[in-house]
């Protein structure tokens, strides 16, 4: 088995109110930050030969509004 993490973000360019609020908070605290996005992480253990992206594409994300990266842990 292998452990993977799927890092999911709202698609770039899509208005993300959570990201915008966090960005404003960071700016208010004096940091120079841009393009903050808030997403989510799905962690799973799968068989070594399992193609994770085929699971993610079909069952985990909505490609119209989200993008993702897979990270092996």
């Amino acid at each position: 088995m292998k452990k993977v993490r799927v890092l999911i973000l709202p698609k770039e360019g899509l208005l993300d109110p959570q990201g915008r609020a966090v960005e404003e908070m960071l700016k208010d605290n004096g940091f120079k930050v841009e393009n903050v996005r808030v997403g989510k992480v799905v962690e799973m253990e799968v068989e070594d030969n399992q193609d994770v992206s085929s699971i993610v594409d079909k069952y985990i994300i909505n490609p119209l509004i989200e993008e993702y990266e897979i990270e092996e842990v």
Binding site: L14, L15, P17, Q18, A21, I60, N62, L64, I65
Partner: protein, 229 residues
């Protein structure tokens, strides 16, 4: 004429919808649960509001992978009339039966209030009994109702006449102030290209008796009954 009301774990407007169909419209109606594999024998399938599967992952995401969702797709592909209300609308977009997606409200809050809706088309199965341009008062109750679709798709939807309801003011003017959640083009309800699958965020079942403050929702139910008769 027989209606199905879909029940997923976490649906919570199922009984209200059932009550309106059975007690107010006096039609035959049955609950069908998430494990149901076929919808043969029904004339109209309603996906009610609620928080199916706790809105985990995304609203409607888990429900869209259930056996019942597969049956809804089959029913719709055969031309059956499908209506998704609120969470039902979210499920239909997750299923790809309707274009677009429902994102968190612009202000990140749960909004529960009456809104005004302008009827953009009155030649569809759910708006036959409305006047074109008529303004309906129907409540919304959602956290994720910001309708989003890419510009190119929005243009095609406009050309095909897939937009059925827009948030408006009481006079029917489509203004930014009347848009409760930041939906593109004030969109509150849409249909598929074929004209048999409908979704809207407002709750007609909560506005179908005078005691509830509005009976404008009845226009939708009566339209469906008249279409199916």
């Amino acid at each position: 004429m027989k209606f199905a009301v879909c029940v997923f774990p976490g649906s919570n407007c199922d009984y209200d919808t059932y009550y309106i169909l059975r007690d107010v419209l006096e039609k035959e109606v049955e609950f069908v649960d998430y494990s149901t594999k076929n919808l043969n024998g029904f004339d109209c399938v309603i996906l009610p509001g609620g928080f199916s599967y706790g809105d985990y992952l995304r609203p409607g995401a888990l429900a869209s992978k259930s056996p019942l969702a597969e049956a809804v797709v089959e029913f719709a592909n055969k031309g059956g009339l499908v209506l998704g209300i609120c969470n039902g609308f979210q499920i239909l977009t997750e299923l790809g039966l309707l274009p677009g997606a429902l994102l968190p409200n612009m202000n990140m809050r749960f909004i529960c209030k009456d809104v005004y809706l302008k009827v953009e088309r009155n030649d569809t199965p759910i708006t036959l009994k409305a006047q074109k341009g008529e303004v309906l008062k129907i409540p919304i109750a959602h956290h994720d109702g910001r309708y989003y679709v890419e510009d190119s798709e929005l243009k095609l939807m406009e050309e095909r006449g897939q937009i059925i309801f827009r948030y408006s003011d009481e006079e029917g003017k489509i203004t930014q102030e009347a848009n409760p959640n930041g939906s593109v083009s004030n969109i509150a309800g849409v249909m598929n290209k074929e004209g048999n699958v409908f979704g809207l965020m407002p709750h007609p079942e909560r506005a179908s008796e005078d005691i509830l403050g509005s009976h404008d929702g009845l226009i939708l139910w009566n339209s469906i009954v008249s279409y199916l008769s």
